[in-house]
């Protein structure tokens, strides 16, 4: 049978390795990278992968961390939580990695986080669903990306405070992410004493959204807030708005800014009056300049991304890069890769300046992304990976 020879080989190898002395293994710092390079959200994962690879190469070329080279073990989970759990187990127990980055999908992350927490491996969390971090249950999971609440919160703030709207239509989709985001959106609006005038969950493959938009208009909505990552649905929503000639602002999920949306629109004008939650680090200021650190990374990454204009959302790349740099910072501060020491080092980080954001973690705070680094962008201003700031 297939199993036996592999396991025998595994035992032999393990024996050989342990006999040859721990010196060989201890030389590298092993980082596991759980990425969904194929399947849903693969575009995000591929971009993040670029950032991760660049950071690893840079650090290794400069001599590694504390004199030890980084060894990156990439595992393609293909968007399947069962595979993600299998690979997490493999990375934790078979490959015995020191750190894990990922997974990209929140659905996979929810499944792997407990496994890695049990194994005590420090993890860089890059999924946005709020339940992925918990200082008590998962003490060694530190979030690098913003939380879903921050996305929804900054969009709500823009809609309610800046645009001064009060009659909100909340649109979600029937996927896992869509239903939970719509729920969180309602809770946050509730806290601001706003009750949505229209609230619906739509199948992401529904072919026409003009009925829902008509209903939203009939309910008197003066701002439409979609919380879905499905570009097909968002494209149809904008089409419906444009076809009806309804001049309502749309403020919502960052997927509204995705490059694929442009192709799905009936007319390019339909993308106007659309805003999405974004980041200070990938926003052009009034003079058209990016923050200096982002620009530096853009210049470094450009040859690796094709040499011409960058056509992926750059914050994914920056986030992947930051994950590795944070690991470097943690190991240097702790002086070793001992998980407990690393945890202590990261827990007491009042301010770490990354490229994607300036992070703060504390003993009771595992979400490092600060509210102040959130921004709202104009959706149709994609250029070279970043966006313009929404007018205030």
């Amino acid at each position: 049978m297939i199993r036996a020879p592999k396991l025998l080989a595994g035992i032999a190898l393990g024996a050989a390795l342990s006999l040859s002395g721990s010196a060989a293994v201890a030389q590298t710092i092993r980082i596991g990278w759980l990425s969904s390079l194929t399947g849903p959200l693969s575009s995000a994962a591929l971009a993040e992968n670029q950032g991760v690879q660049l950071a690893v190469e840079e650090i290794n070329a400069a001599g590694g961390i504390l004199g030890r080279q980084i060894e990156l073990l990439t595992r393609d989970t293909a968007g399947d939580p069962t595979k993600a759990v299998n690979f997490a187990q493999q990375l934790a127990f078979s490959d015995k990695v020191d750190f894990v980055i990922g997974p990209v999908n929140s659905g996979e992350g929810l499944a792997t986080t407990p496994v890695l927490a049990k194994a005590g491996i420090p993890t860089m969390v890059i999924g946005s669903i709020d339940q992925l971090t918990d200082p008590k249950k998962y003490p060694r999971a530190f979030r690098v990306i913003n939380t879903n609440t921050q996305w929804i919160g900054s969009a709500n703030e823009y809609a309610l405070k800046t645009l001064k709207r009060s009659k909100v239509a909340v649109i979600g989709d029937t996927t896992g992410y869509g239903t939970s985001s719509a729920k969180t959106a309602q809770e946050l609006l509730d806290k601001a004493d706003i009750k949505p005038v229209y609230n619906v969950l739509i199948d992401p493959n529904k072919t026409d959204l003009s009925d829902e938009m008509a209903k939203a208009k009939a309910a008197g909505a003066d701002v439409v807030m979609p919380w879905s990552a499905a570009t097909g649905l968002l494209g149809r929503l904008l089409n419906a708005r444009g076809d009806m000639g309804w001049d309502v602002p749309v403020v919502g999920h960052p997927a509204l800014m995705a490059a694929q949306i442009r192709a799905l629109l009936n007319k390019p004008q339909y993308w106007e009056n659309t805003f999405a939650a974004g980041y200070v680090s990938t926003t052009y200021d009034e003079s058209g300049k990016l923050p200096a650190r982002t620009q530096e990374l853009v210049d470094k990454m450009r040859p690796r991304l094709g040499g011409k204009d960058i056509d992926v959302l750059f914050w994914w790349v920056a986030m992947g890069y930051d994950c590795v740099k944070i690991i470097e910072y943690a190991v240097k501060t702790a002086g070793s890769v001992d998980p407990a020491a690393v945890q202590k080092a990261l827990e007491n980080t009042p301010r770490y300046e990354g490229i994607y954001a300036t992070y703060t973690w504390g003993p009771e705070q595992r979400n490092g992304f600060p509210d102040s680094n959130m921004a709202v962008n104009v959706a149709n201003t994609f250029k070279d990976g970043s966006f313009k700031m929404a007018p205030r």
Binding site: T38, G39, P40, S42, S43, D173, T174, V200, L201, I202, D203, N205, K206, T207, D208, S210, D211, A214, T231, G232, G235, N239, G242, D243, M244, G245, Q260, A263, L264, N266, K267
Partner: protein, 286 residues
């Protein structure tokens, strides 16, 4: 309310066209192929590719999509049906068509990408046209035309009569000298072209999306089961019923119970009248 009605009829027309394709394949081979929905998906995806990526005029894109559909229909026959029908085991064709359907869906997903991509505008028309937009009436017109065309085909042409002969009794047909293998291949090619046409016509409604195949197989089947296996008019009725039910239920109740309601319709019809509204009773004397 009108827009709900029209969009329901349009998606229903796509389901009806898929049911017609099922009928054509079933008539000569007594096989219900799981690849039926995927033929329409290929029509939409390749139509979009020919017109947008290769920049060809839409007539050429349409012909190209038809060719791809016909080729896939022929491939279904050769790979999944021919060898399998020769054996007495009747379940194997379900497995082989399921395998082929999975393969084509994954292959297209890897090549085309997993995001829905736009389907180009075929006839210049302003986008504010509301319910008279071509994305609604193109599928409806195509489905009705297909049904009429098939009826004429069966009644007036020699090949159509051969199809009918094979569906009544394949052995008798063979005894009379009908080359059943070749006729079956022809029917699959025709079915492939029709499916691609349906997918192409509905492309603006569904966008060019690789995962369309399986849901269309299921929904087309529900339309077929409701209308009755073997009846073209029944396919139209079944498709319209399913499309309208979907549209009105999502308008009044929301999108969360879509599948439950569609399948509820299927189960109801199967329990009350298993052969469908216009189908014939499927009894086989032994």
């Amino acid at each position: 309310m009108w827009s709900v009605l029209v969009s329901g009829l349009a998606t229903g027309a796509l389901f009806a066209a898929t049911a017609l394709v099922y009928n054509v394949m079933f008539s000569t081979s007594k096989v219900l192929s799981i690849t039926t929905g995927h033929i329409a998906m290929l029509g939409g995806v390749f139509g979009a590719w020919f017109i947008t990526a290769l920049g060809l005029p839409w007539i050429v894109g349409l012909v190209g999509a038809l060719v791809v559909g016909a080729a896939f229909g022929w491939l279904t026959d050769v790979l999944a049906i021919r060898r399998v029908l020769a054996r007495s085991d009747e379940h194997l064709w379900l497995l082989s068509t399921l395998a082929l359907a999975t393969m084509v869906q994954q292959a297209v997903g890897l090549w085309w990408g997993t995001e829905p991509k736009p389907f180009p505008r075929l006839i210049p028309q302003d986008f504010g046209a509301g319910i008279t937009d071509q994305k609604f009436w193109l599928p409806i017109v195509v489905a009705v035309a297909m049904a009429l065309g098939l009826e004429l085909f069966y009644r007036r042409t020699m090949y159509g009569k051969l199809f009918l002969a094979m569906s009544e009794d394949a052995f008798a047909a063979r005894a009379r000298g009908v080359p059943t293998d070749r006729i079956r291949a022809v029917s699959y090619v025709i079915a492939g072209a029709l499916g691609a046409l349906a997918g192409f016509a509905a492309g603006q409604l569904t966008f060019a999306y690789f995962a369309l195949g399986l849901t269309l197989t299921l929904n087309g089947f529900i339309a077929l089961a409701v209308g009755g296996l073997g009846s073209n008019v029944g396919a139209l009725i079944g498709g319209a019923a399913l499309g309208l039910l979907n549209a009105f239920s999502s308008y009044f109740v929301g999108g969360e119970f879509q599948q439950t309601i569609s399948v509820g319709l299927l189960m109801l019809v199967l329990l009350l009248k298993p052969e469908g509204l216009l189908g014939s009773k499927n009894t086989r004397p032994v």
